[in-house]
């Protein structure tokens, strides 16, 4: 690998880290499509994407453990379902690769997923109700103060198949509900090489009724195990390239610190609309890249790659710029008050 590719991966990792640290989700699912557009084998793109997610989850879990936001009981129950789901997803990738359909189907799944989640986030952001995301640093609220969503209450009342478990935040839920959520998100994770947090977190909140900060911390803890095992399985098939994962992680660990610190000075709701826009551009980019591959146009493939990376860079730059402006304004105000 040349120095320019190394710099590209470190830089892309930095951008992805800023997005992950700021929004608490996303970013990592830009890695696999970018690798596909760089002409890596689908199993290498998905496997290395998953190994990157594993490394990122280790770093983020260490932080959330320090904040007391991990439900280890829930995490342990979810591991089995997610692991089986990931393995089923991984087996599908290798099967589709053997019949030559993996790259196209993974790209189509990404277009649908990025487009769907992007449209949802943009709609929430434009409505301005501010409840579409996750507060990564929500430490000032007691877990009992989080209201359980109506859908979760309904599921808890209707699905009473034993064994039942009591989770943090005094939530009582059937083990089968947890396992079903875990399997579905694991399947997606194994097929696309993503952590699945952007699906699993809302599922934990709306289907299981877990308080938001615990959903974030537990999701990450769970990804450490399921992502680790998924990476191991992909690694056995030669799907994990350390030359890709190491520089990505090097950049993202720094970016995540910066993004996480930025949440303290910038209102996430103001930037969420850009995040939604980035996902939508990502969906278009993957579609354009795939058309480029299909008709054999390297120009279209390059346009797709530039769009994916460009959209992420623009949103990360907007976060950094807004943070610096906000810091300077706060500092000036404090200096004026002191005078």
């Amino acid at each position: 690998m040349g120095p320019e590719m190394l710099a590209l991966f470190v830089g892309f990792g930095l951008v992805v880290g800023v997005l992950f640290g700021f929004f608490g989700m996303g970013g990592s699912f830009l890695v696999t499509p970018a690798l596909l557009m760089l002409d890596y084998e689908p199993s290498v793109a998905v496997g290395s994407g998953m190994a990157f997610v594993f490394g990122t989850a280790v770093i983020a879990t260490l932080k959330h453990h320090d904040l007391g936001q991990v439900d280890y009981k829930l995490g342990a129950i979810m591991i089995t379902g997610t692991t089986i789901g990931i393995e089923a997803g991984r087996a599908s990738v290798y099967y589709l690769e053997s019949i030559g359909l993996a790259g196209s189907l993974i790209s189509v799944a990404y277009v649908v997923l990025l487009g769907g989640v992007g449209a949802m986030v943009t709609r929430d952001a434009l409505k301005g109700d501010g409840d579409g995301g996750v507060d990564h640093e929500a430490t000032d609220k007691s877990l009992d103060e989080y209201e359980i969503p109506e859908t979760a209450k309904k599921i808890q009342r209707t699905v009473r198949i034993p064994p039942m478990v009591t989770l943090r935040g005094d939530v009582s839920v059937s083990v089968w509900v947890i396992t079903a959520v875990a399997f579905a998100t694991g399947l997606l994770s194994g097929f696309l090489g993503v952590g699945g947090g952007f699906i699993r977190m809302p599922a934990m909140i709306y289907a299981i009724g877990v308080p938001v900060p615990v959903a974030v911390g537990t999701d990450l803890f769970e990804i450490v195990f399921s992502g680790g095992l998924g990476s191991y399985l992909y690694g056995q098939g030669g799907g994990v390239d350390l030359g890709i994962v190491a520089p990505l992680l090097f950049g993202s660990a720094l970016g995540a610190r910066v993004g996480s610190a930025a949440t303290a000075v910038v209102d996430a709701d103001g930037i969420k609309v850009y995040f939604g826009g980035m996902l939508l551009v990502g969906a278009v980019a993957v579609g354009v890249g795939e058309i480029g591959t299909y008709i054999g146009s390297p120009t279209l493939e390059m346009v797709g790659l530039v769009l994916v990376i460009g959209a992420a860079v623009v949103v990360a730059a907007a976060i950094l710029y807004t943070s610096v402006v906000s810091l300077r304004t706060t500092y000036d105000r404090q200096a004026t008050t002191a005078d």
């Binding site: 260490l62 680790g228 690694g235 660990a253 500092y331």
Partner: protein, 54 residues
């Protein structure tokens, strides 16, 4: 490769995943140390060096 499979022990792959795990832990601790060491200087740079001296 198609079909569900039970993971078998493979020292080379375990070393690969272990390396990623180790890198993550080292980066977590390393960047935390750097943040403590360089954070205040960086903040002064960001809010404007001359103004911070007021």
């Amino acid at each position: 490769m198609a079909g569900l499979e039970i993971p078998s022990w493979d020292p080379q792959t375990a070393l690969l995943i272990g390396t990623i795990l180790l890198e993550a832990i080292v980066l977590y601790a390393g960047y935390a140390g750097l943040e403590r060491l360089l954070g205040p200087h960086l903040m002064r740079l960001l809010v404007g060096g001359d103004r911070s001296g007021q």
